[in-house]
């Protein structure tokens, strides 16, 4: 009998546990895996402003594609920040985000970064250019492009880097093939996992977001990073969902993210700010041949040509790795 009453008690305790926030409004922020550190600073700053008073947050971080999918499946979200625009398109198609989400001064982009080579302290293998990655004995770690948004940025950086070096599209694909076939030693499922794999000692070079490299360095890891001369400008989109019940607060929060204060906090945690006035205060290197996703064809084209799971450049390359 006693056992049964314990069960009853516990069943009653669950809803009590689920509730229990003192804030008036609770915004659900759903983001990709890396900006957690930035938001742990930005959210308290927002809560101190007039617009943020009484607003609490729940935060969820994970692989960009998975987070988009989870929101489609019903994960509550008021504000979403994802790694790449196509993941927002997924939400637009499910009528969870307005099709005009990118019609603002910043095209819906809240932070930027570039693809860099993360190397061990001292860069003993002297890796500086995309061609250096193909030198004998150089081991490369990059996340799996079929699960990770960051990995797609990496692949497109490598492809565009080859084009910039004067290669034809065919030769650029040959470059990707050789890179993945002979030099990539692990493909963890997310950018963060890849960083952990690299930090645990695997590989000589990690292809990653610049902000991840800065984060690792700030956490006391003995690494360094090199921005290749030709690399891609990463642009991370943000949007308020159309299903939000707290639109004024959600919009106020996104607006706050574009203030000098929030953009500085982003910059401190390694992101390149989108605000010109803040950019000047931080000294991010400017790669000479920086290009955007538009240079390699834009996301719509790229997704199909490079990342279709059945018949695409990367599917063919991954297949040839077998054995």
């Amino acid at each position: 009998m006693r056992r049964i009453s314990i069960v009853v008690l516990l069943v009653l305790a669950v809803p009590a546990l689920a509730a229990g926030s003192t804030k008036d409004v609770k915004l659900a922020l759903v983001a990709y895996s890396t900006p957690k550190d930035a938001y742990t600073k930005i959210i308290p700053a927002f809560e101190k402003t007039a617009a943020g008073r009484g607003v609490g947050f729940s935060q969820s971080y994970g692989a960009s594609g998975e987070q988009a999918r989870a929101v489609v499946q019903g994960l509550p979200a008021d504000v979403i920040e994802l790694s790449l625009a196509p993941d927002v398109t997924t939400l637009v198609q499910s009528h969870l985000v307005s099709p005009s989400w990118d019609k603002n001064a910043y095209h819906g982009i809240v932070t930027r970064s570039v693809v860099v080579f993360v190397v061990r302290s001292g860069n003993t293998k002297h890796v500086r250019t995309w061609n250096d990655l193909l030198r004998p004995g150089v081991q490369v770690v990059t996340p799996n492009p079929f699960t990770s948004g960051g990995a797609r940025w990496n692949v497109m950086a490598a492809y565009g880097g080859a084009l910039r070096a004067g290669k034809t599209p065919k030769q650029a694909i040959a470059y990707l093939t050789e890179l993945f076939k002979k030099h990539v030693v692990a493909q963890p499922s997310s950018a963060r996992e890849a960083l952990q794999t690299f930090l645990s000692g695997k590989g000589d070079v990690l292809l990653s977001y610049e902000n991840e490299a800065i984060l690792a360095k700030n956490k006391g890891q003995s690494i360094n990073w090199v921005a290749p001369k030709a690399t891609i400008l990463i642009e991370n989109p943000i949007a308020v969902t159309s299903t939000t019940k707290h639109a004024p607060q959600a919009k106020a929060f996104v607006k706050f993210l574009y203030t000098a204060q929030a953009q500085s906090l982003f910059a401190e945690t390694g992101y390149r700010p989108v605000l010109k006035s803040v950019q000047k205060k931080f000294h991010f290197t400017s790669p000479k041949q920086l290009f955007t996703i538009g240079y390699v064809g834009g996301w719509t084209k790229v997704q199909k040509k490079f990342f279709d799971p059945n018949s695409s450049v990367m599917a063919t390359i991954e297949r040839s790795l077998g054995g």
Binding site: R69, V185, Q187, P188, R319, G323
Partner: protein, 271 residues
């Protein structure tokens, strides 16, 4: 009184009301918790006609790797597990009870903790100088760890109950230890070994937590089926994930039916 006892039907000591309750409750519970989600999985595969997702080269490679490594692990455990069980039952040494208790550790330890420890121990900064992380060896190690208890725990009780007189008789006739084991002991414990191996195989095929951090998931090389499925879910393709899941479901059912058959044969032999 005696007349009433004779009138009693077959072993049905409870009134049928209790029986109906037990049957109805367990069927409903099982349906709600297990069968309904599984049905949704199979239906999703069917509805999205994603059967061909199973034949995508990456899925085939993942399934092949998973089944082959699991087979290897299961066969290895058949030998190692039997040896461990034998040592625990027929040998005696100080600390035996502690070792006996430790056998269940892989079951009790959460798989993610297993993954973390294996990475620390056999990773690139291994204190023992073994760098196996992100290779097929790492998968093998992780699966050996989590499947350890199965063969040991199915063989152990059979060995305990096995009549030692036959072995003693064989020994007095001058048979070597190995011959005794092969001729006398082994035939008796084969069903137990087989069902342990089958359980270990099933566990290995579905294993996720202990493998996810150490495998490095290079497609076509070190990506196992459950990690592939998670990858499909993460990249927003639950239908493709469901198709491969149905294959794993099929393997699980076949293994369970196999174990059932082994058990029935074993009990028939007994009596």
């Amino acid at each position: 009184m005696a007349a009433r006892a004779e009138a009693l039907p077959l072993p049905r000591s409870w009134p049928s009301g209790g029986a109906a309750l037990a049957v109805a409750f367990s069927t409903a519970y099982l349906s709600l918790i297990v069968l309904l989600p599984i049905a949704a999985l199979v239906w999703a595969t069917h509805a999205h006609a994603s059967w061909q997702a199973v034949s995508s080269p990456q899925a085939v490679a993942a399934l092949k790797l998973t089944v082959l490594v699991s087979l290897g692990v299961a066969v290895f455990q058949a030998i190692a597990g039997t040896a461990v069980a034998w040592t625990l039952v027929r040998d005696s040494f100080p600390g035996q009870s502690v070792v006996n208790a430790l056998i269940d550790l892989p079951f009790a330890l959460p798989t993610i903790v297993t993954s973390l420890t294996l990475l620390a121990l056999y990773g690139p900064r291994s204190p023992v100088g073994v760098d196996a992380a992100f290779t097929r060896w790492a998968i093998l190690l992780a699966l050996l760890f989590v499947t350890l208890p199965f063969v040991v725990r199915t063989v152990q009780p059979v060995l305990v109950e096995l009549d030692r007189e036959m072995e003693d008789a064989a020994a007095s006739l001058g048979a070597s230890t190995f011959a005794i084991f092969r001729r006398v002991v082994l035939p008796n414990i084969v069903p137990a070994i087989l069902s342990g191996v089958a359980l270990a195989f099933a566990r290995a095929v579905g294993e996720f937590g202990s493998v996810v951090l150490v495998s490095g998931n290079v497609p076509f090389r070190t990506e196992v089926a459950s990690v592939y499925i998670l990858g499909r879910i993460e990249s927003g393709d639950p239908a493709g994930a469901a198709a491969v899941s149905v294959v794993l479901l099929g393997i699980a059912l076949v293994v369970l039916l196999g174990i059932g058959a082994i058990r029935r044969r074993a009990t028939r032999h007994d009596g």
